[in-house]
């Protein structure tokens, strides 16, 4: 994982995302392998909250304690001042309810409190386990912007989700696991481009004349149900030029990119087919994760 970007951690429910995060935090012990942060296991960090901040999926807040006290008791362990507690409360917009019992908080507010706790020590590495789970659209947008903003400051942001579409909007890089194994570790853009089959959607009143012209230059053309045509094997620029040369009107010319969801499906299908063809499943080494920040 690299600093300055959001790394998405994808996988279906039960694939081991939360467990991986808990292992990074030293809460669960891995059966084999090891996890290091800036080259050290979590338990060797001199001031853990100053190096790693985490929002784990399972709630870690006493319902009877106020937001301020929850943050303050964490701050005290890592020599963080009261001013910083107020600062992070401001940052997540909880200043006004800081003295209220956390048990009365809405899901969104609880999530913000968890994020405030993660940011307490101003850490270079941030882990967020399903931060948008259960949030309303506004909350989701807020979290998404926050993650991007944190990464833009040069922090390493590692965020898990089972929603591919969410990651397409937030992450720069994705790590995909399935059944506890690493499937993909790649930049989002590359992942999407690779799976995009250079398909262009064209809408034109002169479809009947354009159609043979496109086939002439070697493109595959098909007509969709809503009257548009999809062209495979020819770039949008070339289609436009071709139409102009022949004086044809184009109403729409859209290069189609595969969504991350489709890319993900492609990938997992590939890995399944590959395993089937090889006739055996290779037991991979336990992954060693390294985060620098």
């Amino acid at each position: 994982m690299r600093p300055g970007q959001v790394t998405g951690f994808l996988g279906p429910n039960g694939s081991g995302k939360s467990t991986t995060m808990r292992m990074i935090m030293g809460l669960d012990a891995p059966d084999a392998g090891r996890v290091t942060i800036n080259g050290r296991p979590y338990s060797d960090l001199p001031w853990p909250l100053h190096e790693v901040g985490a929002l784990l999926e399972s709630k870690a807040i006493h319902p009877g304690r106020s937001a301020f006290n929850h943050l303050w008791l964490l701050a005290q362990t890592n020599r963080i001042g009261r001013r910083r507690v107020s600062e992070v409360l401001d940052l997540v917009g909880l200043s006004e309810v800081a003295r209220r019992r956390a048990g009365k908080f809405s899901l969104g507010m609880t999530q913000r409190l968890g994020i405030a706790a993660a940011l307490l020590g101003d850490p270079g590495v941030l882990l967020f386990d399903e931060p948008v789970n259960g949030l309303d659209p506004e909350g989701i947008l807020w979290v998404r912007n926050l993650l991007r903003w944190l990464a833009s400051q040069g922090r390493t942001v590692f965020v898990s989700s089972h929603l591919m579409s969410e990651m397409a909007l937030t992450a720069d890089h994705v790590v995909v696991i399935g059944r506890g194994r690493l499937i993909v570790d790649r930049p989002v853009a590359e992942l999407v481009t690779q799976s995009s089959g250079r398909v262009v959607k064209v809408r034109t009143p002169d479809a009947r004349r354009l159609h043979p012209l496109l086939q002439e230059v070697g493109a595959t053309v098909s007509t969709t149900s809503d009257g548009a045509i999809t062209v495979e094997g020819l770039a949008a620029e070339r289609i436009g030029d071709l139409a102009a040369e022949h004086g044809l009107r184009l109403h729409e010319l859209t290069p189609m990119t595969a969504s991350l969801e489709e890319a993900f499906m492609d990938l997992t299908r590939d890995s399944v087919e590959f395993r089937g063809a090889a006739g055996e499943t290779v037991e991979p080494e336990p992954p060693t994760m390294e985060a620098t920040g």
Binding site: R22, M25, G26, L27, D28, A29, Y42, S43, L45, P46, W47, P48, L49, H50, V52, A54, L56, S58, K59, A60, I61, H62, P63, G64, R65, S66, N69, H70, W72, L73, L74, Q76, T77, N78, R79, E87, D90, L91, V92, G93, L94, E96, V97, G108, M109, A117, L119, G121, D122, P123, G124, D136, E138, G139, L141, W142, N145, L146, W149, Q153
Partner: protein, 283 residues
């Protein structure tokens, strides 16, 4: 509060302190944990009612009914023990507090936040033990001394009463406070092993109250040989100026301080087992 458009202020440059996290910060944190939840306050109120309140009732009733009592009652009367009658219930209440201090961490998931901030688990447990132990000791001593002095005032004039300088009295009053706080730590240790409030509480109450009852199903010789090791008996014996062997079906009792040593040994064992499990298990 505002949801949605949020101004993201620029963070000040990170200031990482020198050195390494340690016990002092963790103890401060534990103190914040204890004082920032209502259960601590309520349990403390109930402890005051139990230790001081019951002491007041017991001594007042004794004073009022003294003339109706027989010669044996008068001869065996221990005014110190009578004013400390509430320590019995206090043992249960302080056990509840000891259990909650640890089980609430697991029940609410706070333990994950705690261990993220301080990954050294034995240190976390040690700091909890120290902070809770000191707080419980101070509260217990204040309460037992208060119960003693108020109780003796109520007895004065009607019945024999004790002064703190009489033999065994200071030991009984201060010792009762010590027993209370050690039992609180014993309960904390049980909760470190069991981690669930209900299970830990049931176990604590079981060891304290039910175990002596179970002994009665065994032959008398066995009862006499074992009853002196029961935490409840050790506590009752400490809170009296003379041993009351009849209260628990006979047998010889340990001396108050030896009994206290045994109780401390139980507590150390439970805490060490809890600590080992805490390190081994996933949080």
């Amino acid at each position: 509060m505002t949801v949605g458009s949020q101004t993201l202020a620029t963070l000040p440059p990170p200031t990482v302190p020198e050195g390494h996290y340690g016990a002092l910060g963790q103890m401060r944190s534990e103190w914040t944990k204890m004082r920032s939840v209502r259960s601590t306050i309520w349990t403390l109120v109930v402890t005051v009612l139990a230790v001081v309140g019951i002491g007041i009732v017991a001594t007042a009733v004794t004073a009022a009914q003294w003339r109706q009592g027989g010669l044996i009652d008068h001869l065996t009367f221990d005014p110190t023990a009578r004013s400390l009658a509430g320590v019995f219930l206090g043992q249960i209440v302080i056990g509840v507090l000891g259990v909650l201090v640890m089980s609430a961490e697991y029940g609410t998931g706070t333990i994950r936040a705690t261990l993220s901030a301080i990954p050294n688990r034995p240190l976390v447990l040690a700091c909890k033990v120290i902070v809770f132990g000191v707080a419980a000791l101070l509260a217990s001593e204040i309460l037992t001394f208060a119960a003693f002095f108020i109780g003796q005032e109520l007895l004065k004039g009607t019945t024999p009463y004790a002064t703190i300088s009489q033999p065994g009295v200071l030991r009984a009053v201060a010792g009762a406070g010590l027993v209370l706080s050690v039992l609180g730590l014993f309960a904390l240790g049980i909760a470190t092993i069991i981690r669930h409030t209900a299970g830990a509480l049931a176990t604590y109450v079981g060891v304290l109250l039910v175990l002596p009852l179970i002994l009665q199903a065994f032959p008398v010789s066995f009862q006499h040989a074992t009853i002196r090791y029961m935490p409840l008996v050790i506590g009752e014996n400490m809170a009296a100026t003379r041993p009351d062997i009849h209260a628990f079906g006979g047998g010889t009792l340990l001396s108050p301080w030896v009994g206290f040593g045994v109780l401390c040994a139980y507590t150390v064992v439970v805490l060490v087992v809890g600590g080992v499990l805490m390190v081994r298990r996933d949080a």
